[in-house]
Symmetry: D3
Subunit: 331 residues, 6 copies
């Protein structure tokens, strides 16, 4: 059973040996300056990923036959080189089938997926508009879609992405959508809810998450906006009497949800629900990014007076953790 | 008493005479192509403003001594020229002191200002942070500020601006702030509330609203961000023991609320509350713009299948009124 | 029969009466400064459009019952006001069913549509890739699509748009595609040809051309890129065994043909054929714009030493007609 | 006494031992690839900063108890690794209180600060406008401000920043301001002078320069523009009868001196003096950058035919040293 | 002799007749709404230009045979229409050869051209570098160039352009160049002076100023930067032994003086003198624009509390006249 | 004779010794972490360039007297460090005069230069316009120009640049120019051909290619556009009676061929031929970049399902090799 996680290693004493199970995300043959061959690995588990070095690949305690995608048991120690943490591997073998729980190997949402899913279904159940309900039922009751929806990450980057991330993001947005629709009577609540649930559904085809998180070639050439629109178009085609106007509005919500042409939306939001969807989607992503950065700063031992590193998704801005700075965490 | 409003005139038959009271927003001497002098006026009341022509300024029924800022009683009729509505004035005199209620002459919020104000004060009362409460109390209890806050428009443009507009905008934002703070535990609710109340307070000095809505020269050279920061700085200087960190955060919320340097914020939002404030401020302004555009389209007789005109504050986008468009399919 | 065209009127003597048939593109009630009602019309035929004024709408020689979309016979004369040409209408009646040929009333391609169409079909016939041929056959043999393809304009603006404009543009592009594919062996000729034929096919749904050229509401909310992709997706779904890779590439060609995100393409060209398609599409549009501008300059009587007006589709650049300036047109 | 400077080390023979005094700017524990711990230091003095390595931190000749901010005496030698100069440290101890002159440890202006300061005061003395003189006197006679003004760097980056840099920059600008005001009678000389002296005064609070040059947290959240405006606002509040118009203009000069919103000025220059201030401030910064780059090229042994490296503050442009290229330095 | 100028007409009573001499800048035939033909003229003199209307072109007191480029004597009166000033012309005849001084008909510098020219020559005389002196002598002693240099405007727009404008601008820049070179020892004074004198010399071919100010076709296609470089290249080719390095630097100064690629400079400034030239050129143009705007505001009767109109060359900024606002002009 | 090329080394076994001839592109003295001196070389041949290390510079088998620009014979082996290939040099001596063919040492076009050149001359021969023919003849018959034209690369970057690259690019463009001129009758074929041949001719002076590919200082300060214009201007000056209009158009083609001001063209294309030249030049450069990237991917062993690396000249886009992905290369 897995009891050592990558996130823990940062605080390990250098040189102290430990055993752990990890997923092999990449494997390369390299040579030292003095021409000695070694292996460079990228190992991952649900808490992160870490570079590892096998300096003696010929050692009999190092398995020969392992590759990207395999789960391995490793004995080694942490080391720091030029301020970067690294793993020095002394022994390595393939893990046995039952030694590790798969859910420990890829980062995953900290929420209970079953609970998130039932919140999503309950929201669908609450819709007053029968056509939108019909549409969402048709999509979410297709098992291939439902199970992918429960597993998919919301993005590729390891730091902001995890199994169940898409569902977690959508359920958070549903909460905001209810609040915004309650505040602005202008908004059609059912349409906004539908937009929230379907806006990123193309990601279940744009991304693959079997070993690490990757874009599919089709995903790169077509994008999740087009893939989501296609899935919805084809579902609607199976629903007799689905109103044309409603179809156009649902598709428009998906097409325009990035809010700007230069962010890959081929249409700007032109209905109030599309404007609102773009705002809450963007705000939720940013709140998630801020939370992640603050956790990372604490993990890295930064003090309350220190800013985070530069946050790529916020124009390389640095951020200050208000609550810590105001001292709530100090006593 | 005023019973004819500018907004009503669009539906008046051309040539039908009526009497009405209006505020003179501008007055100019002009000449026709055939060298005949006439007066060109801009008349306003709380529902809008309209160009008016006095073709016979020498007529004894036209008062000589009136100017920008006066309230006048006018007899005339509507006319349309090149699709623009105009007023043809036959008679004009100064209004008597008690003939018109001042509140009928400038556009004003449709909400009850006293109710909005008590909602604002109740929110301040609810703050748990004693310093922020002290600060807001000190500012809002200063009568010159309080009365200006109740009267000020939120912007200059006549279409998106009205007496009490600032307060209406702030109270709407308070509602959104409560909802967002409840959704994201990351956020310090009291700090966000304080940011909402103070972010635009400089507008009470940037704008003047005695006759129409104008920028003051000081407002143009310094801007409401700097003017608001100065007001808060000077108030804090009177509060013994106000924490330095809290002062910096409150000022940062005001400085960064436009969200981008190119929108006139000298600092980008660097704390979670500043990010959230920028989002809800922007969303509220856009929802107001959309509502105004939809009302205008209905007033202009556009059908449910027609888009609005190009909306300047939304990159000249045209908008579709979802509910009206869907309503055709519903019955 | 129609023998007076709008393009001819520029050279007419002011005040000289003539009779002509026109399509009513717009009709509005207006009032003169002196409160006299009049009609403001926009009349069109295949050579252009022109504002017209009916100063005496009550005259019995002016029909009461006509509207936007009707064809009318008009007696009147040309007049110039502030350098703009206008029509002064003395008499107006509805045209009889057989008096006018519909093809005279909207601007149309100067090419023979049947010839263009057979060039298009011959090119499809020449494809070596059986799947692409199957796809194009399926689409072009659907009569609703084929007839719309033969009629649709390539854009809305009256000056660069005419019936058959889409087909004319596509056939010109086919010529360039053959030449480019012959020059660069890197390119898959059949794929490029398919991209050319399908890239703008969504325009047959984005635009309407019954009376003048307009965007449909669905067209505004979804755009011709999405509408074209949907048409192709649904057709492919009916073709058993259509290769997945090929489907992705064809859709990518449509999605990326505007070449930049900010021009409304949700994906940048990522295959050589998409790069080439974007180039020849853009070049063909610009060559057409230049040709149109040069013709307009000559029609307006500009000399060989004068630049054209500012061309909107070329960043408001002015252009010089090389051949005229070099004197080939002078002798 | 300090007689070896960092700038000298570039020309030292590798391996030749020397003794020197330096300020510790940073200190980190690291490990070699072979798991051996070592210390990585950043050492500085007034001529620059240099990375240093202590390969044997356990050696008794290496002091245990030293930290960032301490002054140390070091014995070691220069070495070059991948073209970067480095210090190899064999011995290290804390410096004694009187061994080093503090002014040798941070880069400092090459001018005599007392002379610069008296030039500044003489210029203030020369003002004809009594209110501006009063304001400047009030600010510069406050000892905390005056001493910070004499010490502060003009920016953080070590290469373009040094103690007294702010004052040096301001006095250079005063010279240009006199020249520009003499050339353009449009300009109010006293106002321009005042703008020059106060435009960057917020930097005395935005930056800290005790150990190296850093931004304060307050500086990051508020910025030197706001901090300077606040200092001036509060000083004016103590000056009875200070004219309102003059106050607005002085604040406007500070607010707008970066010249563009995207450079952090919340207002564009709207008075002639603000336009001129922005120009001479920018030109002076660029002339300083060019001078620094040329000196660096010479120090690095580049020939007269070689361009400088890419200059960040000049859009990564490379520069040519005109005078050297023309050969004045060649004979 | 000319004694009524266009700038004076703004303050004329409407309808009061006067006689004046003007240059005909444009002449068009037009028709009123009621089909009556009239002439629309653009008349100019050295103080500005004004639209004029001849409502009775058939009147025998209106000359038949006059055209663009002719000087005419006009009897008429001022009138205002929609706030625009216009001239109503009752009589018009060609001016006799000696009735008007040509210099009264196009706007011209208010400086004495002979004095400016001798200042320019004196500066050339003062150069220490014999090659640069040789080059400037060769260019300025060519009579066609010299006389064009004395006459050319600095730009086309009537409001910022006048005969002798180029020379006035260059002489002002020479003053600034001396001051900047004296302040920054980094700069090669002779090279900077040469750049100032030659940077815009291509304008003597880019513009024509016989009748109003126009671009030549060659000027539009090649631009004054290229035309200036060509003139200098060809002159240098006639100077035996002119140093290659010096030639490159002089050409670089001309090529880069707009400072940015997007302003039409094919190269960015890469030598200190080019950086300085770009700054003083830009500052001088802006100071001229500000001066012109302030004069215009006073001419239009604006008060000291009013901003100027939006200034195109300053990003549509409005400006405040500091000195007037501070009250120096009030007593 | 040279039989080992740099491109071959990627597939060499690490440590296997070989002998080869290379051009020394750079040579630097460096030190290891342990203070041991070594040599860092950049070696090149026609297939690429590679870093090499001489760890024992004192070894008698390592020549002392060699420098940048020399051809050397090297004995050594390939090694990989951090995924970068490197050469470990054991022995090194100067090559003898006849041991290596110079054409093996710099990357060169894969086409026969003599054939390309005769294609170019044949195209010139085919021109109908006698003046353009005269101009091209005059330029291309000057031996210094002709031989530089046959040798010059089209750009500096080693990867997209090779001897004869300019000529190869121009001849490819001539093919496209013929095709485009045949397709669009609007275009003057002779003018377009002339633009193609002369547009980059300044590169023969902007670049040097004796040892590697570099910009000349004059090239950096003036640019190939200006240098090409100058060469053409001076040639035209020698051709009596060359028409002014034609001269302007040819110069305009060179000045505007980058298509945008921000790409360094001081003028936008304003004639049809300039528009077309900009398009085909850009397309040809992109097709070359794509071809190069695809070849590189294959060389690096990427599979048909893998995208290329990010392509700098295509906004860091990744590309998919259509033909490989569709499987043509798979069997």
């Amino acid at each position: 059973m897995k009891d050592i996680y990558i996130a823990d290693l940062a605080s390990f004493e250098e040189g102290k040996l430990f055993d752990g199970f990890f997923l092999v995300l990449a494997k390369q043959q390299r040579t030292t300056k003095t021409n000695k061959p070694y292996l460079n690995l990228m190992l991952g588990d649900k808490t992160g990923q870490l570079e590892a070095r096998v300096w003696e690949p010929g050692d009999p305690r190092i398995a020969k036959a392992f590759d990207r995608g395999d789960v391995v048991k490793v004995r080694g120690c942490a080391s720091r080189f030029d301020d970067r943490l690294q793993l020095k591997v002394d022994q390595l073998r393939l893990a046995l089938p039952l030694e590790v729980d798969k859910s420990d190997l890829l980062p995953a949402t900290s929420f209970d997926v079953a609970v998130l899913w039932s919140q999503l279904l309950a929201t669908v159940e609450s819709l007053a508009n029968p056509d939108l309900k019909r549409l969402l039922d048709a999509i979410l009751s297709e098992e291939a879609i439902a199970s992918a929806f429960r597993e998919a990450p919301a993005a590729r980057g390891l730091h902001h992405a995890w199994l169940g991330g898409l569902l977690e993001h959508v359920v958070s947005l549903l909460g905001m959508a209810e609040r915004v629709a309650a505040h602005y009577p202008l908004l059609d609540r059912d349409l906004l809810i539908t937009g929230v649930i379907l806006h990123d559904i193309g990601k279940i085809r744009e991304l693959s998450w079997a070993i690490g998180f990757e874009y599919t070639i089709e995903g790169i050439l077509l994008g999740h906006i087009q893939m989501g629109v296609d899935l919805v178009e084809k579902t609607i085609a199976t629903l007799p009497g689905f109103p044309d106007h409603l179809r156009t509005l649902v598709l428009h919500l998906i097409l325009s949800h990035h809010g700007k042409l230069e962010f890959g939306s081929p249409k700007l939001p032109m209905i109030p629900e599309a404007l609102a969807l773009n705002f809450i989607d963007d705000l939720d992503a940013k709140m998630m990014a801020v939370t992640t950065e603050f956790e990372k700063s604490i993990r890295e031992g930064k003090g309350p007076d220190e800013l985070t590193g530069k946050v790529w998704s916020l124009d390389n801005r640095q951020l200050l953790n208000t609550k810590r700075w105001l001292g709530e965490d100090r006593e």
